[in-house]
Symmetry: C2
Subunit: 232 residues, 2 copies
Amino acid sequence: MVQGSSTIKPRKALSRALPPKALAKKREILEAASRVFRRQGLYATRMRDIAAEIGMQVGNLYYYFENRQELLAFCQRDALEGLLDLAAWVERQELPASGKLYLLVLGHVVHVNEGTPGSLAHLEVEALEAAWRKRLQGRRDEYEAALRRVIADGIAEGVFRPVDSKTAVLAILGAVNWTVKWFRPEGAKSARSIGEEFAEQMVRGLLADGAELEVPALELPELPQPDVGDFE
Amino acid sequence: MVQGSSTIKPRKALSRALPPKALAKKREILEAASRVFRRQGLYATRMRDIAAEIGMQVGNLYYYFENRQELLAFCQRDALEGLLDLAAWVERQELPASGKLYLLVLGHVVHVNEGTPGSLAHLEVEALEAAWRKRLQGRRDEYEAALRRVIADGIAEGVFRPVDSKTAVLAILGAVNWTVKWFRPEGAKSARSIGEEFAEQMVRGLLADGAELEVPALELPELPQPDVGDFE
């Protein structure tokens, strides 16, 4: 059963039209922040460290991001919107559910580790204060629902065992999100290579007896640029 | 291939002989801390919140734990030593590698969520300063090595696919450790029930074509009391 991509809501248009130069600067700050978060950890990173990374006065940084919480929320929204784009793309492919899940796991690992430079900042929901967390919750739920739909489709197709799709998705999300804690771009394996191993392991974990995984011969779509417009 | 439990080093004896009453109080504090960490999050929890949880003056808390970092390190050592006990027990069982991995995944989920009340505090290595992290690193490595040995044994037995055991273990650890972020004791499913679903999913993900998982008919061992003796 191929579901329309309409099940995932498209991104809202940017609500504040910043001049292109300011948007570019915001992206530059987010990328610098990701580098610092990865290097010295999420909790030891202060606004002044991020400013120093790009030779900016810390006071100027506050023109772009109100505080550290807002900057973190942007990091997390960026990771999440990229994953939702991936899920919408996967939904449009004519593939069995096992092939779709393979691409989702592979794409997730690549995105969180190679997209806006992967770091804990992008996934540590607990680091966000409740008000910010709430603003991201709806999109987070949509992404989990997209994963659950693929598993439910696979069960209906007879490709997957009759698992509880909620538990199965939480196991997969744990595995793929945890990669940002240990993946190193300078390590022996690329994010894609790790993503392929993970995808095979995760899909096989759900296969019905006798069902086989056919690895899809598809290139992942390009990752979009982070959206640095205001939160609605 | 059944390996001797001698591959995992036993716990060191307590290095400081605190009177039994003081040890009991230390355990009580750790349990209270776990409750507070779970309720209000790791990063929003201060020493005074933990003291308040058991009606203690915050000054007295410092008699048992030098600071928040030491308390966190105790939480993490507690989780880790319980997992190493589990791994040593599993190594002693006469089971195929698939059965051993099943018990390890199941036992891990149960331990981190039902043992010293599971919470992020027990697993967030990043929240520890480098000096504390280093003191736990050796035991952490031993646990990962125990998991890798079971997978390597399974590959040698022909039960598992010829995967990279390091990547496979990191996928499994991500899935099981992430449970502490979403598991709620008051939820619809017990930690054991989630652990069983996870164990089946993780073991099947590694099975060689044609190999089958036989779920072991074994009760998990009782969890030991947390060791509240000094760090060596």
